[in-house]
């Protein structure tokens, strides 16, 4: 074989492999970014389905008939330390038992009444509980369900802002 041809073929092969590898890596990275964007899209922070902490705290001061039902869908260990007064413990709906409990509780609620879901176990875009809980209640026909916006956590965006908390079960 002509040595020039051999060098040229080897170079072409290497270039092609490098190109394919680079394209695959770029594609994989773009896919991950797209998935994250999709997850954040489900509940945009500024949308009508989201309620801000101050607005909820104000709503909970109102007359009983106007108050929303507040459902906590995060881990028990946080709820035991501090939760929104009057909130009901459901548990993490990312687990099957939590989702079952949410369905059971939803069955006894009016579908036209105001319901607020909250978790705050971890940063908003990464919470594994609020989106499935919201989707489940919407699927069940709830018309006034909203999610409490806690950007960093319940601690940072509710308790440390001086909003009311209760301890224990």
């Amino acid at each position: 074989m002509n040595p020039e041809n051999f060098v040229s073929r080897s170079l072409i092969l290497r270039l092609s492999l490098l190109a394919a590898l680079f394209a695959a890596m770029t594609f994989a990275s773009a896919q991950t970014s797209a998935q994250r964007a999709k997850s954040a899209d489900v509940l945009p922070a500024g949308s009508a389905q989201v309620i801000q902490p101050q607005e909820l705290a104000q709503a909970l001061k109102g007359a009983d008939a106007q108050k929303p039902v507040v459902l906590y869908v995060g881990p028990k260990t946080f709820f035991m330390q501090a939760h929104i007064p009057g909130a009901e413990f459901i548990g993490p709906v990312s687990k099957p038992e939590g989702m079952e409990k949410l369905r059971a509780r939803a069955a006894s609620l009016s579908k036209n009444g105001p319901v607020v879901i909250y978790c705050g176990c971890c940063p908003w875009d990464h919470c594994p509980n609020i989106r499935p809980a919201f989707a489940e209640l919407k699927k069940a026909g709830f018309t006034r369900v909203r999610v409490l916006y806690l950007a960093t956590s319940f601690g940072a965006n509710w308790a440390e802002k001086g909003l009311p908390v209760a301890k224990g079960e």
């Binding site: 072409i12 490098l18 899209d41 916006y149 940072a156």
Partner: protein, 191 residues
């Protein structure tokens, strides 16, 4: 055909770069309109050492059954990271805590992971997969209360050699900042 091969290779490369950057750009545009910024909150406790809150006396049993009493941490700089394997941003931070432990362990740093609401088997698998080089203990409300309450993950406390709490990081950990705090505390006297 042989002459065309480099052209094809370069075209594939260019296409890959174009697709990747286009998707990234779309992602940043979507993120900017759909999410409010999720800023980590950090508190660096200031004032003289005697003004700082004392760290709780730790007596822990890790995943491997190893008992870690107060003497295990005496005179060390300790990072207590409340996290969970199910919490995406917490899990992503583990390799960086592993790197910190490796880098500064000989100078007296001890990282401790406190896992919240993890399934024990999932946690063990995670521990093995990431070859975690620091102890992980299952958390409970009592341990969280001892730190004044932990109401969200990740949360990291920075304890100095003087056994006082020098910092608290809420949300995604700012590793350059925590690295700086660790270095500063490693060079400080024990009391």
């Amino acid at each position: 055909m042989r002459r065309l091969a480099p052209v094809i290779a370069i075209a594939v490369l260019a296409l890959g770069v174009y697709v990747g950057f286009r998707m990234r750009r779309q992602h940043s545009a979507t993120a900017s309109i759909s999410s409010l910024p999720v800023a980590p909150a950090s508190t660096k406790v200031s004032g003289g050492s005697s003004d700082l809150p004392p760290a709780p006396e730790l007596s822990l049993t890790d995943l491997n059954g190893r008992v870690l009493g107060p003497s295990s941490f005496k005179g060390k700089v300790v990072l207590v990271n409340f996290w969970a394997a199910w919490c995406g941003p917490c899990a992503e931070e583990v390799p960086q805590f592993i790197a910190l432990q490796k880098k500064y362990q000989d100078q007296g740093l001890q990282v401790i992971g406190v896992s919240i609401d993890d399934d024990p088997e999932v946690l063990r698998r995670f521990y093995r997969k990431y070859q975690m080089n620091y102890p992980v203990v299952p958390g409970d409300p009592k341990l969280s209360d001892a730190f004044g309450g932990v109401l969200g993950l990740p949360t990291t406390f920075v304890i100095g050699r003087d056994n006082r709490i020098h910092g608290k990081h809420l949300g995604a950990t700012d590793f350059p900042a925590i690295n700086h705090e660790v270095v500063e505390l490693l060079h400080s006297p024990k009391s």
